[in-house]
Amino acid sequence: MAGAYIRGVGLSCALGEDSESCVSAMQRRQVQPVRLRLDEFDEPLLMPYYRIPDRSELFDAGRFERLLPPVARAAVAQAGLTTAEIRRLPMFIGSSCFSIGLSESRYATALTQQPETAIPMPLCGYQDIAVILQRTLGCEGDTYTYNTACTSSANALLAALRMIELGWYRQALVVGAELANRTTLAGFSGLQIVAETLQPFDAARKGLLLGEGIGAVLLSAETDSASRLRVIGGASNCDTWSVTTANTDGNSVAKVLNQVLHQTRVQPQQVRGIKAHGTATPTGDAAEARGLQQVFASLPPVSALKPHLGHTLGACCVNELILYAGALLRGFLPATPGFETPDPVLGVYPLKTMDAAPDGHYLLNHFGFGGNNTVLALEKTAP
């Protein structure tokens, strides 16, 4: 399998507003969530939240317009594309929120100013991220927008990889975007799976913490002297056990892991590290752990990155890929803050401290509502 090289990245998340400073902040375990309080409900909604450290108000309607373009520009600039290549550049976008925050703001304003003509969902569809990016980057290529919950940007990246392998495109920009909005915050609160601390695979884990982030990865069929990371494959399947979690027996997770290993011709013992999905929900971690146990007789080092930036939902694949890839390039496997007490039932023990990251193969897990399981394989080569 030819795969596709990572030629450029851009990232804005709770860790910082460029990819290098984000990796440094992750290395230093620097970030803590802020405390959110939404007062519009009968009972105030309180939760920790990993926000991008920009200066704007969290629900400012203009944040997408401000925060998206610099991230995408950084990825494109790093790859050194020509103007003609940028104009043709296809985009693969993954998000679970899209412009819902802007839609909420407009509806709320209309209800205040002209309630009799206020229209719910004044913005509909999924095109706004692509429209903003095409306008600001000067792209006119094809767009593919994925909405498969927390696997959205993983599936977007998988599609980009496959179309590059077919020769349909030479390059592709893959973008994951998730910004704070009331629907997501209140929706997850209603599901009662938001915790106070994020402790993936820990015996005391109680649930997830949300975060926001925008990431962009420029994938290319061609390598250059600086490209040491290549996405070499991926697979996806659907588990219909429950709409909110994979079956806790781990079978569908094991199946998708085995598909990726088979497809990439990598043996389990050749895997040098795993970036877990690690939401820290009791059932989510159980399904992932049992799936891993079925595939690996001896687990390679596991890193769960959500304690560094929160669960960025539809964008989590691209955001965490950039952090994990950045760590690999610096030679380390990330630690998992929040993991203290092993859960003997799970048998997965994420790294408490950083470890060395050798050249070789790595797996990145992603699971989402709607039964979506998607795993990607990455190869790090010597300079």
């Binding site: 409900f41 509909c124 569809g125 496959r162 659907c238 709409v243 709607g370």
Partner: protein, 286 residues
């Protein structure tokens, strides 16, 4: 070779003074279990996919590729009203059903599928996006059988639905659920293939060599009108059934599914593209 093994086509115009057609009774016959907490978008997806698969035993790893321009708009409206107008936490099933992948989940569950399950959107061209994705996967051998659909829901009142989409107030709206069952391999059924061209002249040349009397040509609704007119004039294309001009965001799916489900002879060519991004030609073989 990719074959279209079966197709289903549901296109229901919605009149200004009428309620939406109830789908409950049809779903009772088509679904193997009574699903609770599903919305109209999911109902439409179940209706179309189950009709397309009716009488067939699908492979467990059959992929699902669902496209939509607007997604579950009715449920999203209810959720936003709960949250913003009523200052209430959205009900869990309303929140979960805001995700496009929820519809694919129920389709998979109803048909006993465990393969890839994607929701893909491209405004005004979602069918082209899902067809590109599924054909890439089938050409690379990751998928050998796939259900490919486009679903568009109408949310009442119609005037507001038109406003949201910036449509003229006199346009006739329709709901749709249009599906193709694709399979790799040989057989008598129609073939489906995709040609990609960097230059428009190459597309014209190809069409010129492939075109036969009685063939049909569709130009995507998102195409530049002048380019589309050039093609229509050049290939004297016959009109396709379009439910008296009723509109939804994935009309190309309605054209293709109607053609594939029917018994007309000849080829159907669907053209989409732009001078910068190149041209795609989806070809339903005779």
């Amino acid at each position: 070779m990719i074959k279209i093994v079966s197709a289903s086509h549901y296109l229901q115009p919605v009149n200004d003074d009428a309620a939406l057609t109830s789908l409950e009774s049809a779903l009772k016959d088509l679904c193997r279990e009574p699903f609770r907490r599903i919305d109209r978008f999911i109902q439409l997806a179940l209706l179309g996919s189950a009709s397309c698969a009716a009488g067939r035993k699908l492979r467990p790893n059959c992929g699902i590729y669902l496209g939509s321009g607007l997604g579950p708009i009715g449920n999203n409206i209810v959720t936003q009203e709960q949250l913003i107008r009523d200052a209430e936490i959205p009900k869990p099933f309303n929140f979960i059903n805001t995700l496009g992948s929820s519809a694919g989940f129920y389709v998979a569950r109803n048909l006993g599928l465990q393969g890839q399950n994607f929701f893909i959107s491209r405004r005004g061209a979602s069918l082209q996006a899902v067809l590109s994705a599924v054909m890439a996967d089938m050409l690379l051998g990751f998928v050998t059988q796939a259900l490919v659909g486009a679903v568009e829901e109408v949310a009442l009142p119609l005037g507001t639905h038109r406003l949201r989409q910036h449509l003229p107030q006199d346009i006739l709206l329709a709901e749709g659920s249009h599906w193709l069952l694709l399979q790799s391999g040989a057989g008598d059924s129609r073939s489906l293939d995709l040609q990609r061209f960097a230059e428009f002249t190459a597309l014209e040349d190809f069409l010129g060599s492939a075109w036969q009397a009685g063939d049909r040509l569709c130009c995507a609704t998102s195409m530049d009108n002048r380019v589309a007119d050039t093609l229509r004039q050049g290939f004297a294309a016959g009109a396709l059934p379009d439910a008296d001009g009723a509109f939804h965001d994935s009309l190309e799916a309605a054209w293709l599914a109607a053609f594939a489900a029917g018994s007309e002879p000849g080829n159907l060519f669907l053209v989409d593209g732009h001078r910068q991004r190149g041209w795609s030609l989806f070809h339903l073989g005779a």
